[in-house]
Subunit: 320 residues, 4 copies
């Protein structure tokens, strides 16, 4: 029997829009401590980018009365691929409709995941064109580096909380053509966590179970740095600047990512990570399934997962 | 006008077959100094793999009267994608035909590039199944690590010499669906080097001009390690073990890869490299073109490209 | 008033003798996982060294019915300095007397610290002379590297448990001329930990309070590696080889050392550490005092100190 | 025969005073690219320090019509030790006399080396007392970090050119109690380079032969960073900021230091270096002697020593 072909319609995660109720402090964190650069402003939003993100922005930071995720955007591989995905999502019945686009990209199609997080997909994008003072020494880099804060290279992935991770596992492959690379299945059969990718990165989004009754909550957004040592330096830098370090640096057992988690001033969790040379190259990768017993061993080198990692999300839940 | 969609028929570089006229010494190098593991033998060939290569082998080392490349294999994304590529290559007129496969994969279709290097494409593969003593501590890794030599994680890319790099630039996108990510164009318009990828890696093959009149020659094969520091350690290890270090560690200007080049005992050049978190995520990446003047600046931090890098290939050319 | 001159009579920590009730497994750990080399055997003891230790041995591993510290040796700066230290120790009244020396050094003078640990001081030593197959590529290194296990460079320091750390703080400066570089003073005034050095290293021995009623117990011995990344790699390697990782990698707040703690098969704790470029250069360094409140913040980046770190010592105490 | 005891009168290198004929640009380099902090100004001089230097300053940058070394200061271990050194130097006949001190230290005794470089030794020093906004998160660190430029930790060593390196080898052990750790002896018996230390660092000053007829010239000053990776990052940062990178990053064969050399805007050479965990602990260390043949192999991993390294010094020589 001929296998169904893998879907490459969605090229990559494009951007995340975060809400903050401490906009000035959050902006200071993202620019001066995480090391992003502002590429534009509109309304209540500031558009930010890491030095090697090729698009205009990868983080849209929007002032709000609350925190958490406003929406997430994925870029499709072509206009045709975008149309195919829209058709697929409309069939799934969770479509919202087209937007006129944003400062950093053209028209986008919005939809909801089963936990009510808002996604959008688009093709037309605005490439970052560095002004003279932002031109890099090496022309194969999107922008010069400034050496501010963690000095992250590019947006890597994000993580959402959901009531029913199994519903997400059914949804995302159909909506985005995502593949499941790793998952945690509890002894009772429930799916506690699931990692998805649309390309060769080992994951661009992860979902874990929300231990509260809330829906649509955000767990973290992650920017990639080039070396594990850069994360150790980032830890020193966050310490020196009074940022709340939640856990790490350490190495995840799941996906083997070297990680560091901090909270930006409004409470949104931010990760700095390095995956080494690990990629998912197999077009027919079989999901790795972790059991409850295996996960109880903690992280790769034995660090126990910190309690707040299971409870803290944004916006805060009414009853934890 | 609707753009042509990017081609994702070929999933990734699968393996390289190298010839050696010093088979025992070469094998000792690849196992004990580069850190590969033997996964099988057949005829004059030993099959080798890095610890996180998911396939049975990524290097086939074949005893011969000479050195250089025997063939290179790419794995397609699906059986259908394989058929599409075969049809495209047959149209290009450089097809050789089907083989029955090898120890590590099923039937493959062979063809020649314009410089007479032999390629093959295949879909059916033999996944590496670790025996009990090779099982990794973390189940999302193909095989345990042993800490031997450079301890490389996975096959990364290879580099070939060619008389006419422009002919290759015309050929590979049509044959494999490769995209050009970077290139060197001399003042006289000639293409001195060209880097191609079929996926999110910034390149899986590079071609540079052969300064001799020889055809079909091999420049190097590269395995990836997780961190730049691992390459510094590899340099120490090669020094301690009397391996000829040609150049590096340093950072390429082109592709920004951190590199180290050595010769294995038979003279084939081997690279250990780290690309940091750099990936080509844009589905419509525009090739970066380096001028002759720019390349004269040397590598990223100013290291002048060593003369042998332009002349040494395998097999040795009759007249340099 | 003219200050008393600093004492430089003792040059450095020389070696540690550890007892093991699993001699074969312990030896396998120290050679194949920590990466030491055997330089000799005598009686029930195996003599081990790191690749850049200049003396014959820095670890003497002795088969026994128990575990823990047999003795520790410091090398003096000159024969005259040795005589001055012997005179000082005899005045302190804890001297045991002269030994004829050992495989790795000449006659040594033994004494007890206030918690009954046995120390010795010596001047005459046996420099390691590498046989042909152990000669390094760079002649300014004591021995070639082999790339086994953690591949540690040199002995760094050791840590002992004591009932009364204040008594140690009074004793060591008088006995060895040690200086206190850092200390933990509890709210009740008790000294919970004290770090000492005889040279520019920030510490060569640390004492922490034994939470049991036992005396003469051993907490850990530490070997230094060149880079923090090497400790991350060591963690991967220990994980792959089933070694019990107690805590780390992380950065100590005290002394800022980057650390990883494991247990060798007999239960003795072993640390792999990197101090970066941190040295104590000031001849009149003032001890840094940490309060109970400060220590409750955990390690540098917030890791809570693991409970076993306060309780596990060797030999095990009858009542914890 | 009883050996002469090693001399520990001089504790460590204290500071270097450099001249610059581009004072604003040089200051910008040292503060924003090397990452030093200004701790004071007086006359034509700016006083600078790395974040973990415990003294008020380690670099005095003085505006001048020329470049090169004004003087270098070493701190003694005690007032008594200072007196002993003054007596020894006066016996050597190269003393200049006492100064009243400087912003960062008390009275100092000045003298000349045989090549006419000016040294001073002192004991009374001004410890750096961080104002509130410069207090570090970890109290065992002299000052907070800022993440500017290379972010160097502390002054490491300096390097001078001399007509007669043998004369220096005779002089420094008598003047400062320095020990020779490594040296280069040419086939004709001439000393081409000599590395000295007064403590456990493998060297605090190196002299190499001046290939011109000039005297009193300066080769470079070096600040230490904690990890080799930090030097790779510094190379990226210098590249991005248009600083002239002379050579590196690479590993010296002599002393095994990982290095990177750049020129500050006025032409004084500055090195960023990491020695790993390598220390000279032996009180009776025997100098390592490199032959002309050995040095022709280049640096540790084969990098050829760049021509300017043998010719460029400050101030520039009239005839090279």
């Amino acid at each position: 029997m001929t296998p169904i072909e893998p879907c490459y319609d969605v090229a990559h995660l494009g951007h995340v829009e975060l809400l903050t109720n401490k906009p000035e402090q959050s902006l200071d964190f993202f620019v001066n401590l995480l090391g992003l650069t502002e590429s534009g402003r509109a309304g209540d939003s500031v558009y930010l980018r890491a030095f090697d993100d090729y698009e205009f922005h990868t983080l849209k930071l929007t002032a709000s009365h609350t925190t958490g995720l406003a929406h997430v955007g994925y870029r499709c591989a072509s206009p045709q691929a975008l149309q195919r995905r829209v058709a697929a999502i409309e069939k799934l019945g969770t479509g919202i409709g087209w937007t006129e686009g944003d400062l950093g990209h053209g028209s986008a199609y919005r939809f909801r995941d089963p936990d009510n997080h808002i996604f959008e997909i688009y093709y037309d994008t605005k490439r970052y064109e560095p002004p003279a003072n932002e031109r890099p020494a090496l022309k194969n880099q999107a922008q010069r580096t400034h050496g501010r804060g963690a000095g992250v290279r590019r947006l890597d992935h994000f993580n959402l909380l959901a009531q029913d991770v199994s519903a997400i596992r059914d949804f995302l492959p159909n909506a985005l053509g995502s593949r499941v690379t790793e998952q945690i299945v509890l002894d009772n059969g429930a799916l506690a966590g699931c990692w998805f990718t649309v390309n060769n990165k080992s994951y661009d989004v992860a979902y874990t179970r929300d231990s509260t009754a809330a829906r649509g909550r955000f767990h973290h957004v992650t920017y990639a740095v080039d070396q594990r040592e850069h994360i150790l330096q980032a830890a020193d830098m966050f310490l020196e600047n009074g940022v709340h370090i939640e856990t790490g640096p350490h190495k995840h057992a799941v996906q083997q990512t070297f990680f560091l988690y901090v909270y930006e001033p409004a409470g949104n969790r931010v990760e700095v990570a390095n995956a080494g040379a690990r990629l998912i190259l197999a077009p027919d990768w079989q999901p790795v399934t972790w059991t409850e017993t295996e996960r109880k061993k903690g992280q790769a080198w034995g660090l126990k997962t910190i309690e707040s990692f299971h409870t803290h999300g944004t916006p805060p839940a009414d009853h934890g």
